[in-house]
């Protein structure tokens, strides 16, 4: 606001500044202008620096040196010269039965019979229960690169038995291993599958409903109070905090419609759950959450279809639905898809409503259908972040990289769709 006074100051005398006065006045105004400009640029820089810091922080935690130590050396577990990594399921099973306490075995049996598990799972179990590879301490990437000598000295002093290795917490095995209470052996397969199942249900429900509602509002609805109420209601819903949808899902879907969401109506109750806290509930909750976004985006896409196209279709004798189905929708489809992909990329990162709906805290078994217990990638990240130990931070960072990759893929495909098909009409 200071600039205003300087402009006006010339008026006080009733004349505009001239000569030296003008030069000084101008110089002052330009100085103020460059100050403000610095602020505007700084604001932009803060945004960019924040994004960079966020990415740096995640990468810093996802890679780095670790001090590891095995309780039992894997080399000593070789049977008849066959190393652990190449043993068959039967050999691994015997090994487990010999070395693991029977109480623990029984618990694992009840989660999923050991005989039915895959070789990779059994191998992971042997590593977890028998070899017991322990990561004693982990260091972030920047220390690992810049201060290696100090770390080596520290390891030599504190953990004389341990080896120091460089570890990427994000590995192919991290994607394929299931949940584990040992950070070094944990993976995101269960969570990733849970996310995919949930998002599939969300898409199946929200896309047709959203596009249907958008068609109604843009093509059929006349300006009556009910349609205005519908429109206002949709924009209101778009602003409701996501956690409120979680509360709705908990009370209505998980509790109120328990026979439906637990699968009892279909005779498909998952014995491990037998309540409404299932993938179906999660997917439906997210569908309600993204529905307003899908509707609003689809409406914009449909509105952008030129009127001449509809008139041409009517002139040829098409009915209204024929016009919509054969002409309006195909033209609006790229826009509708872009908007829906954006909505899905929002849904895949949603955490709060799913915590409220009742995500499971620990699942080692893959979801088998819409009536299974669920956990999703963001929930896994949340749970790992909430643990105090450093190594859970490390795997949380690795899981964040997976989530960001998913998110960026979805966004990039939306942008590609938009650029490829955008503006075929001059409106």
């Amino acid at each position: 606001m200071s600039a205003r006074w300087e402009v006006l100051s010339g008026d006080e005398a009733g004349t505009l500044p001239e000569g030296e006065g003008l030069r000084l006045n101008l110089a002052r105004r330009y100085r103020v202008a460059s100050l403000w400009r610095t602020f505007f640029v700084a604001a932009v820089l803060v945004a960019i620096v924040s994004l960079t810091a966020l990415l740096y922080n995640v990468i810093d935690q996802a890679f780095g040196l670790v001090a590891v130590q095995n309780t039992v050396e894997p080399a000593s577990l070789a049977v008849g010269g066959v190393p652990l990594a190449e043993q068959t399921s039967e050999q691994l099973l015997t090994l487990l039965q010999q070395r693991v306490p029977s109480a623990v075995l029984r618990r694992m049996e009840s989660e999923q019979p050991l005989a039915q598990r895959s070789r990779e799972d059994l191998n992971a179990l042997v590593l977890e229960r028998v070899v017991q590879l322990r990561v004693l301490k982990s260091w972030p990437l920047h220390l690992s690169l810049l201060d290696r000598e100090a770390i080596e000295a520290q390891v030599g002093e504190q953990y004389p038995q341990a080896r120091l290795v460089f570890r990427s917490w994000l590995t192919p095995e991290f994607l394929t291993r299931s949940q584990s209470s040992t950070p070094a052996l944990a993976g995101v397969r269960t969570a990733l599958l849970g996310s995919l199942w949930t998002i599939a249900i969300t898409l199946l429900v929200a896309f047709p409903l959203g596009v249907g509602a958008a068609i109604y509002l843009e093509e059929y609805a006349r300006d009556s109070w009910i349609n205005r109420a519908l429109q206002t209601n949709i924009s209101n819903l778009a602003g409701v905090p996501s956690i409120i949808y979680g509360i709705l899902g908990l009370a209505m879907l998980v509790r109120g419609l328990e026979p439906l969401t637990s699968g009892a109506w279909f005779g498909a109750v998952d014995p491990t759950t037998a309540n409404g806290r299932t993938i179906l509930s999660a997917g439906l909750t997210l569908a309600l959450l993204v529905l307003p976004v899908v509707i609003i985006n689809a409406q914009e896409a449909i509105r952008a279809v030129p009127r001449s196209l509809r008139l041409a279709s009517y002139a040829l004798g098409a009915t209204q639905w024929q016009t919509i189905w054969h002409h309006v929708l195909p033209s609006a489809l790229p826009g509708i898809l872009t908007g829906s992909v954006m909505a899905m990329s929002r849904a895949i990162g949603e955490t709060a409503p799913l915590v409220v709906v009742g995500a499971s805290t620990f699942i080692a078994v893959d979801p088998s259908g819409p009536f299974s217990k669920f956990t999703t990638l963001p929930i896994q990240i949340y749970q790992w972040t909430s643990r105090p130990q450093d190594q859970f931070r490390n795997i949380a960072a690795a899981a964040i990289l997976v989530l960001l990759a998913l998110f960026l893929t979805l966004n990039a495909s939306a942008v590609l769709l938009r650029n490829r098909y955008s503006r075929r009409y001059v409106s």
Binding site: S242, I243, I244, T385, A397
Partner: protein, 322 residues
């Protein structure tokens, strides 16, 4: 709405006369299929109404149960500064105060910076610069909030603690949650404000330049005041978003209600409390279960009011320039 109905285009003027001779029957026919489709589409739209009614019903019903519980009264809920379910104290102020402090900090970050970014994008940046910055802001706005929570806890909090001292700043604190939330909301403020700034007619800027104003004077004294209602709407929406934001605060702000406005202490916001209570093993019909609905109702009322005000402001703004 540009609706053309088939009954005005599908029938000939002399329908009955041509009936006998013409092989084409051009009478208006009842199109049952079309009506059914229209009905189905309306049903799709009604799902959103059902959602709203569902939210209101669920929040209302469970809140009534909550206030019907022993020892819980509306006066105590809105008046007491202690939230201790164990001894039957349900005063919402500790939760509100935490929400207030995270929201305030977030807005202190997001509003000036967001507006700064908006002015830069709309008044200063070259088209090429814009095409680089816009996607950066879009990514910033879209990063899942749980990632921001991680960022707050593992980066911003240690940073604050090393700058301000470990004794002053607790491991969980509302300051770091608020700062990160500000970064999350910044793109929302900047993109809405920029839309408002871009909608200001070019003639206003040119008139200002013609009077000898600098680019800054034009931006601050002409363009921003002209777009003020749009910017105000963005600000109000930012408040609503900050109040409803959940994951950042539940990760970084702390667990356990505390009636404090000190930003360096741990405190639990309304949203954080709902997440913590429902994340544990929650038994239905317990007073804890009912209490999250009462908090949800307060949250819903606040955000709904803010959103309604924001939309009102935008509508006024449109009337001025169209």
């Amino acid at each position: 709405m540009h609706v053309v109905r088939e009954d005005s285009s599908g029938q000939a003027a002399d329908g009955s006369a041509t009936k006998a001779e013409s092989p084409l029957d051009l009478r208006r026919r009842p199109r049952v299929g079309e009506r059914i489709i229209q009905g189905l589409l309306l049903l799709c739209g009604l799902v959103s109404i059902v959602t709203t009614l569902g939210i209101v019903y669920v929040l209302g019903k469970e809140s009534l149960l909550f206030f019907g519980s022993r020892g819980v009264t509306l006066a105590k809920f809105l008046g007491s500064t202690r939230w201790q379910p164990v001894i039957g104290e349900f005063g919402i102020w500790p939760l509100v105060s935490a929400t207030l402090s995270t929201t305030t900090i977030a807005l202190l970050v997001a509003l000036p910076l967001g507006l700064g970014v908006a002015v830069y994008l709309s008044e200063y940046a070259s088209p090429r610069m814009r095409s680089v910055l816009k996607p950066v802001l879009e990514v910033l706005a879209g990063v899942p909030t749980v990632v921001y929570g991680y960022f707050a806890l593992t980066f911003v909090t240690p940073l604050l603690r090393s700058i301000l001292g470990r004794n002053l700043v607790e491991i969980y604190n509302t300051a770091s949650a608020g700062l990160v939330m500000g970064i999350l909301i910044l793109p929302l403020v900047s993109s809405m404000s920029e839309d408002a700034l871009s909608a200001v007619p070019r003639s206003l800027r040119e008139a200002s330049y013609a009077l000898g104003a600098t680019r800054l004077e034009t931006a601050i004294q002409v363009v921003v005041p002209a777009a003020l209602s749009g910017i105000a709407a963005a600000f109000i929406l930012a408040v609503s978003r900050a109040v409803g934001e959940t994951m950042i605060v539940s990760i970084a702000a702390g667990a356990g209600p505390a009636f404090t406005l000190n930003p360096f202490r741990a405190a639990e916001t309304m949203t954080g409390h709902i997440v913590r209570i429902s994340g544990g093993d929650l038994s239905y019909d317990s007073i804890d279960y009912n209490s999250i609905f009462a908090i949800g109702l307060v949250l819903f009322a606040i955000t709904l009011t803010l959103n309604a005000i924001s939309r009102r402001v935008v509508q006024r703004f449109r009337e001025v320039y169209e």
